[in-house]
């Protein structure tokens, strides 16, 4: 049974529930208490011990139902199978046992698998499939390309060679029997294929997801396909979560052992300076204040979309975010992003300022006229854009003033460094006034950029 539990934990990891070794130990202790008799209680037990959020509870519940919907291999025979060496080609012991039980009807000259199929003993067949699966270590399946090989391995382990021989032998002497066997073989193939697909669903999800996320993280944000946008949002949310965990430290830190003499004296003035109450020194730590200016024209729009999503899901880490979007002119979009879902918010922003040709000079002028006071010496200003201003006046002087007022001025450019300065790109001119200039085209680069910005406040 322990083997089954381990397989279930692996399946749970596949379903996106993070099961650490310690948690699996807890779960096993809990299961030892409640036993396997009542499936509903067992399910509750797993939900209590393994899943730690509501989402995890949901996916673990699904995983549990899927996992226990297939017949479990009986305990004794699976152990027997492990101790047995892999005797793939021949008849395996279970099949023999079943063969003895049912080998009365169809003559003794066919193999055990054939006898089993002819007897149409469904439980015996599914048990044999389960045993063969564990012999072929089906739970190691990771990618959908492996389906064929596992199917073959399982069928071999069940003794399909012998069955083929049987069919060949019987074709001449007993065509009706051969036909029945052939039909049964086709059914068996179908059943095994289903079993393998289900296993892939159970165990392969984690790996497939990791692979996909890895690819997504390094894909250029500006050119991902519409169907991937949703997945990309999930990746961004993951990144946001990671950043939150890393940086959401308390702002005030008590420095134990450092007496704040002035405050202690003041507090104890009533007792003539005898220090009944002590005051200790504290360290203050600022949370980042961010002003983000995002180009939402043409190719940069998508990157801005993800960037804004990331910045606005960092509530615990970032004190105050004000975001502005521009192409031809500039508006503040903080409220839209706070009140609406990411899709709707982006739609509204695009309808207001999107799709124009970008005019950096005009947009900077808008910002200076309307919101320059938003920048304090604690603020980090982030400009996200390709700096392609359609040969209009770049107004780099405004950028200089922004840089002077703020703590840091960071420019994130989705284009590669190679093309900065070519065509209508004003990047070199702007770059002189920025504290940091980075390329920022993929989710990974985005994560690094934001993490660096937040880290300067720690």
């Amino acid at each position: 049974m322990r083997e089954n539990l381990h397989r279930f934990f692996r399946a749970a990891r596949g379903a996106g529930v993070r099961v650490s070794p310690a948690e699996s130990i807890d779960a096993m202790r809990a299961v030892a208490e409640v036993g396997f008799a009542d499936r509903a209680i067992l399910r509750d037990t797993f939900l209590l011990t393994l899943a730690k959020t509501q989402d995890e509870k949901r996916s673990l519940g699904d995983c549990f139902d899927l996992f226990f919907s297939q017949p479990e291999p009986p305990q004794e025979s699976s152990e027997q199978n492990e101790t047995d060496d892999e005797n793939d080609s021949g008849a395996n012991p279970e099949a023999d046992a079943h063969g003895d039980a049912t080998g009365d009807a169809q003559g003794e000259n066919v193999g055990p698998l054939a006898q089993m199929l002819l007897s149409q003993d469904r439980t015996a067949i599914s048990a044999a499939i389960a045993n063969a699966s564990s012999a072929a270590s089906l739970s190691d399946i990771r990618y959908f390309t492996q389906r064929g090989i596992f199917q073959t391995r399982i069928l071999n382990a069940m003794g399909i060679e012998r069955l083929r021989d049987d069919i060949d032998d019987q074709t001449a002497g007993n065509p009706a029997l051969a036909e029945r066997l052939q039909e049964a073989l086709n059914d068996l193939r179908g059943t095994v294929r289903d079993a393998v697909s289900q296993a892939l669903l159970l165990y392969g999800r984690e790996e497939a997801e990791n692979l996909r996320n890895e690819i997504l993280r390094n894909a250029p944000l500006a050119r991902i396909e519409p169907r991937q946008v949703e997945q990309m949002r999930a990746v961004i949310r993951q990144i946001a979560r990671r950043l939150r965990e890393r940086f959401s430290k308390p702002r005030k830190r008590q420095r134990r052992g450092h007496l704040d003499v002035r405050r202690t004296l003041r507090r104890n003035a009533a007792w003539g300076g005898v220090p009944f109450l002590t005051a200790w020194k504290r360290k203050h730590r600022d949370r980042p204040k961010i002003v983000a200016l995002c180009d939402v024209s043409g190719s940069v729009a998508r990157v801005s979309d993800f960037f804004l999503l990331l910045i606005h899901s960092l509530h615990e880490v970032v004190d105050d975010v004000r975001s502005f979007a521009f192409s031809g002119h500039l508006i503040e979009v903080s409220d839209i992003l706070e009140s609406k879902s990411p899709e709707e918010a982006m739609k509204e922003i695009m309808s207001k300022v999107g799709f124009g040709s970008s005019d950096y000079g005009n947009s900077f002028a808008d910002f200076e006229n309307g919101w320059m006071s938003a920048i304090t010496p604690q603020t980090t200003v982030i400009v996200l854009g390709d700096a392609r201003s359609n040969n209009l006046d770049p107004r780099a002087d405004i950028l200089r003033r922004i840089g002077e007022r703020s703590k840091r001025l960071v420019w994130l450019n989705p284009e590669g460094r190679m093309v900065w300065g070519f065509g209508d790109s004003e990047m070199p001119r702007y770059a002189t006034f920025c504290s940091v200039v980075r390329q920022c085209a993929t989710a990974q680069q985005l994560e690094r950029a934001v993490s660096d910005i937040v880290a300067t406040y720690q």
């Binding site: 993070r18 650490s20 310690a22 948690e23 807890d26 202790r29 809990a30 030892a32 208490e33 409640v34 036993g35 396997f36 008799a37 009542d38 509903a40 209680i41 509750d44 037990t45 939900l47 209590l48 011990t49 899943a51 730690k52 959020t53 509501q54 509870k57 979560r241 939150r244 965990e245 959401s248 430290k249 308390p250 008590q254 005898v274 009944f276 109450l277 002590t278 615990e316």
Partner: protein, 315 residues
């Protein structure tokens, strides 16, 4: 392991809690049973007013244990949660014992000798007598065990969580001057959270994670029945049905179980025999706590009452 023992034990938990007026779902009962068996704290999450705190009270009452409650808030630190040196008492004692100290040290001729004699007395002023135990330490010191309720853990700071880790996994705390204090009898620990912020993985790992959502209609009827015995069956069915309809709306704050109980009390007090438009409109402020929510729900009242009454006919 395939015996019916756990099932009956879980049912015993259920009926035990029910005797204290807490109607638990099967999952809650399983969690309580497991936490007792494998000595793990329960982390209860869920919207406000579904009975997270009540659960701890009910367990304490059922087992006849003392309940120690630690209400978390921002800025809560170990001095308020764990222990504190009775600084004023220490100071007072040194003042009173001044003469005594003078006697002890009087014979010593040099500073070194005086220091040596002081050392011989040990850490008199940092002994158990000068420790002021706060809820967490109190809970460990209960000889019969207790129910420790750490309420709204999500309101506290992240560093306070780390402070809890030692208590939650090993039921002990380390006081630098005194050493490690272990629990006399491991307390039953219940942590509650409104999910205002994500708790750390380390904390979650040490707990059984129980999510209490809004109960099903049947269960809620039983809860109302046990809490407000005076209410008639038809009215109970109607009002619970009505609340379930309200919960389908997109509101700022959905009415939860505590509001349902309050409303039932109000209806009994007003001697209503069944729901009608007028009485619902007048008492809606018991259920909904925001003006905007009340405005959103008011036009639907009649439809919801009709729906709730229809349900009552068929079930």
């Amino acid at each position: 392991m395939a015996d019916s023992r756990p099932t009956t034990a879980i049912e015993a938990v259920e009926s035990g809690l029910a005797a204290q007026g807490y109607i638990a779902s099967r999952q809650i009962a399983t969690a309580v049973y497991l936490s007792q068996q494998i000595d793990k704290p329960i982390l209860v999450e869920g919207p406000a007013g579904v009975g997270k705190t009540e659960l701890a009270k009910a367990i304490a009452a059922w087992r006849g244990l003392k309940m120690i409650r630690l209400q978390c808030y921002e800025g809560l630190d170990e001095a308020k949660a764990l222990y504190e040196w009775k600084y004023a008492k220490q100071l007072l004692y040194t003042q009173i014992l001044k003469d005594k100290l003078g006697e002890v040290l009087g014979e010593a001729q040099t500073l070194d000798a005086a220091l040596g004699q002081l050392h011989a007395f040990g850490d008199v002023f940092f002994s158990k007598e000068f420790v002021e135990p706060r809820p967490l330490l109190q809970a460990l010191e209960q000889p019969a065990g207790c129910v420790l309720l750490i309420d709204e853990i999500d309101k506290s700071d992240a560093e306070f969580e780390s402070l809890l880790l030692e208590i939650l996994s090993d039921f002990q705390v380390t006081i630098p001057e005194l050493g490690t204090v272990s629990a006399v009898a491991p307390p039953t620990v219940i942590l509650t959270s409104n999910s205002e912020r994500d708790l750390g993985d380390a904390l979650k790992r040490r707990c059984l994670h129980l999510h209490i959502g809004f109960p099903e209609q049947r269960l809620e009827e039983r809860i109302v029945e046990s809490r407000v015995p005076g209410i008639s069956q038809t009215l109970r069915k109607q009002m619970v049905g009505f609340i379930h309809e309200i919960r389908t709306l997109d509101l700022k704050k959905l009415p939860s179980v505590s509001e349902a109980i309050d409303w039932a009390r109000v209806l009994v007090l007003l001697q209503a025999s069944e729901l009608d438009h007028e009485i619902v409109r007048d008492t809606l402020n018991v259920l909904l706590k925001y003006e905007a929510d009340i405005e959103a729900a008011t036009p639907q009242i009649s439809a919801f009452i009709a729906k709730a009454s229809r349900q009552g006919v068929f079930s």
